[in-house]
Amino acid sequence: MKNILRELRIERDWTQADLAVHLGVSRQTINALEAGRYDPSLPLAFKIARLFGRRIEEIFDDGVEEPPKRRR
């Protein structure tokens, strides 16, 4: 899954190790997340979203287009 985790981390001038400490995960997990090799669980995705003050879908992109909303 594509994501902007790396960009958000660099904006804050954090290393992968810094982000790992903030999220309570290993540095290799941060590396795998940024490379798109690992999709986080829902609790971890929420934790990431809260840490950066964004919504989950602003950070992660599953590549699926949202269907147009129906009008009532």
Partner: protein
């Protein structure tokens, strides 16, 4: 940029480092205790002493297993998933290899292999399966 040694370590990274050291020490201790048990059994006068000699590597192995399980529980979600997959892969490979060898051993008189070698075989397959997933112990 900070040198790698100055970078902060997260909880799972600290735990992984600690458990990697503990498991390396226990692996060496297990090998040494198997060799010691072989000598002690030969020199023992009573059955009780022989049983106690063999109980030594058995106890070390139980501790090693307990530490290995603790290390998996202490890992974060990604590493934990990779380690559990590696346990499944290694367990399957060892079971398949042991069963096939056992058939040849029983039906065709192939050389007898000691069952206690299953543990090191499992450790080797486990290590390969972990590395193949791009995960490493720090």
């Amino acid at each position: 940029m900070r040198p790698e040694s100055d970078e902060p370590l997260s909880g799972p990274d600290i735990a992984a480092r600690r458990y990697a050291w503990a498991q390396s020490a226990l692996a060496i201790l297990f090998a040494a205790s198997v060799i010691a048990a072989a000598y002690l059994v030969r020199g023992a006068d009573t059955d009780l002493m022989r049983w106690m000699a063999v109980a030594l590597p058995a106890a070390v192995f139980l501790v090693w297993t307990w530490v290995a399980v603790r290390s998996i529980r202490a890992a974060d979600e990604m590493v934990q998933a990779a380690l559990v997959r590696a346990v499944a892969i290694a367990g399957t490979l060892v079971t398949v290899a042991a069963t096939i060898w056992g058939l040849f051993e029983t039906l065709l008189a192939a050389p007898r292999l000691p069952i206690f070698l299953l543990a090191p075989a499992f450790a080797v397959f486990f290590g390969i399966a972990v590395r193949a997933q791009g995960v490493r112990a720090r």
